[in-house]
């Protein structure tokens, strides 16, 4: 008898506790690949998102948006709580998980999701249920061109990123007198790689640069040796890969295996941003360039970076990179909009997102700021170009914010 009472009491407490928490917390659904080929990125994203929650909910006194005080002040100090879902990198699972988060967990907004292919389905679901999808780290430019009302993206997309690459080619060419004459494109075959290479092809043509090879490969293949052979045969000035981590590793090792040392590699971030990539290929990573939305070495202009990086490091024993930096920034922008809305009503949150106007120095990103256009794209996001030196990325472009000079072997 006594035992039964205890069980009932525990049950009531559990239910009551759940309701009490749900009434106060701002619940956001985060969708990432926690298992599968890109599990590493997903688990890093989880640590990054949890770091952002720690900044929002805790008392840290950081010189950034929501860096001071605990919780969301216009919602009575409400805490942000995340519910993570694993989409395994599969667009169909992403769709199902997004629906579950909305209908079962009653989240007020979604955030995610690394692979652009998964963002395509998640953002459709968000639009159907009319709540915001915050794209933290999807870079496909077509994502915000589908007439969705509830899609918002803080980060630059691959047309903006690719523009920065070609601006860099032009400026470094003018500076050193050694211009890029040809590029070899190497991209995986989902929406990320396809959109990225399309942008690269157009900009190369516009800049009068020859596309010596355009290799579309199957992601996560056991071997890329035949593909690498075609890159070697093209022998372009710059190799431009759009690849996830495993393929990035196989590409760099494969080029070495066939005795080919490329003059320059300019990556569309993704796998190339990961510490796992740098560790796996070791010295072969030296000199690799990548676009980035985040610059760990821009602490002078963004004083919150060292403290935020330390919080992240304490969780995950890694430094922030292009992906994790963007994830923190996006969640904070979303939480700030919910705070400004002063409500968990989806329409008010959307109105607050549309009204967003955050100066860059209130974030950890090297951007001019955050201001969404009518498609939900942040138009004040300004990317940088980075290069691996001594096993870590350093900003080399734009020249005025660079922390290191570029090592430029093209034309030598």
């Amino acid at each position: 008898m006594q035992r039964r009472v205890l069980v009932v009491a525990a049950f009531v407490l559990a239910i009551g506790g759940g309701v009490a928490r749900a009434a106060n917390d701002v619940v956001i659904g985060a969708l990432y690949p926690m298992t599968g080929p890109n599990a590493q990125v997903g688990n890093d994203a989880r640590a990054a998102m949890e770091t952002a929650v720690e900044i929002i909910n805790g008392n840290h006194n950081l010189p950034m948006l929501l860096g001071k005080g605990g919780g969301l002040d216009k919602l009575g100090g409400a805490k942000v709580r995340l519910i993570f879902a694993d989409h395994q990198g599969d667009p169909q699972k992403a769709r199902a998980e997004a629906e579950r988060l909305i209908t079962q967990e009653h989240v007020v907004a979604l955030i995610g999701s690394y692979q652009s292919a998964t963002a395509a389905t998640i953002s459709q679901v968000a639009d159907r249920y009319e709540l915001p999808y915050m794209s933290a780290d999807n870079s496909s430019p077509s994502l915000n061109q589908r007439g969705l009302k509830w899609f918002f993206r803080t980060s630059p997309h691959d047309i903006m990123f690719t523009q920065a690459m070609f601006d860099f080619f032009r400026d470094i060419g003018a500076k050193t007198g050694r211009k890029v004459k040809s590029v070899a494109l190497f991209h995986e075959d989902t929406i990320f790689g396809t959109d990225s290479s399309n942008a690269q092809k157009q900009m190369a043509e516009a800049a009068g640069i020859k596309v010596a090879a355009d290799i579309r490969y199957r992601g996560n293949s056991p071997s890329l040796s035949a593909e690498v052979q075609q890159i070697k045969a093209a022998d372009a000035d710059v190799i431009m890969p759009s690849s996830y981590t495993s393929d990035a590793i196989l590409l760099m090792r494969g080029m070495h295996d066939v005795g080919y040392a490329p003059k320059a590699v300019m990556a569309q971030s993704a796998g190339f941003a990961e510490q796992a990539f740098i560790d796996a290929v070791g010295p072969l990573a030296e000199g690799v360039m990548s676009r980035s939305a985040f610059a760990l070495d821009s602490a002078k202009a963004r004083p919150a970076i060292p403290a935020v990086n330390a919080l992240y490091r304490a969780r995950n024993n890694k430094d922030l990179n292009d992906n994790t930096g963007r994830e923190i920034a996006a969640l904070i922008v979303l939480a700030d909009a919910i705070n400004r809305a002063g409500s968990m009503d989806e329409d008010k949150i959307r109105a607050a997102l549309i009204a967003t106007d955050i100066p860059g120095d209130q974030t950890i990103m090297p951007w001019k700021g955050i201001k969404f256009d009518s498609t939900g794209q942040n138009i004040a996001a300004t990317p940088v170009i980075q290069q691996i030196k001594g096993g870590a990325y350093h900003t080399i472009y734009p020249f005025d914010v660079a922390s290191e000079d570029a090592v430029w072997n093209v034309g030598k």
């Binding site: 590493q40 688990n43 075959d189 579309r216 199957r218 996560n220 066939v258």
Partner: protein, 291 residues
Amino acid sequence: MTLTFLLQVAVGGLLMGLIYALVAAGLSLIFGLMDVVNFAHGELLMLAMYATFVVWLATGLDPLLLLIPVALALFALGVAIYHLLMARALSVQFNRGMVQIFVTFGLAIFLRGAAQFTFGSDFKSVSTSLLANRTIDMGGIFVPLPQLAAGLVSLLAFAGLFAIGRTEFGRALEATREDREAVALIGIDRDRIFALGWGLGAAAVGIAGVMLATFYYVSPNVGATFALIAYVTVALGGFGSLFGALVAGLLIGEVEALTALLIEPSLKQVGMFVIYLAVLMFRPRGLFGTL
């Protein structure tokens, strides 16, 4: 397109094909013996790669020295899997085949999860070994040493498996495969043969794992990348045929490389499946299958 260029791609396909063949050998062996597709085969490969990585990290021993110990460890694991799981699955009364399939499928998911839980989801790799990052230039054709060594070890392993096939144990395996009820009458312990078959199959994929770890990244998901190809290899070569697995592995390696080169890299698995479908239509038991 020069001849050197074609040869280079063909060499790449050949070396990869030898790895595919060795991964498939263990799968074929177990299938031939028990009529069971081991869906955890890729995960055994993954475990062997992690074992190599972990011992290398802790002791700095060259992965090549770990070839025998890891193969033995995987042999023990294979025997254990048989006794703890498969023998029980065999003893059910209904739908025995399905139960066995689900057991290996569940094992695969469990092992992948356990690996991610234990080692994390980061990509790891063995960065120092006698062979690491070395490549030899043979008249313009580059042959990476780790892959070359892996190919040679694969051939040696096949030679070993063929040799085992000629021993008394090998004949007992063959007899058990042909009629598992009758062998009991002539005093062959079926359980023991099955267990050793699983051990041998796991040891073969263990050898593949060690060699793969010298030049490939290690992650909880790495097995899945190779497993699909292993299933096609076994089906193409003929279920239960070791020689078939060798030929089919090489064929798939080459078809993949040439499809990537001549048609389009993103379609390279299509080339492999076209061959498979053709074989399925005209010779359903596979190239060298006897079943």
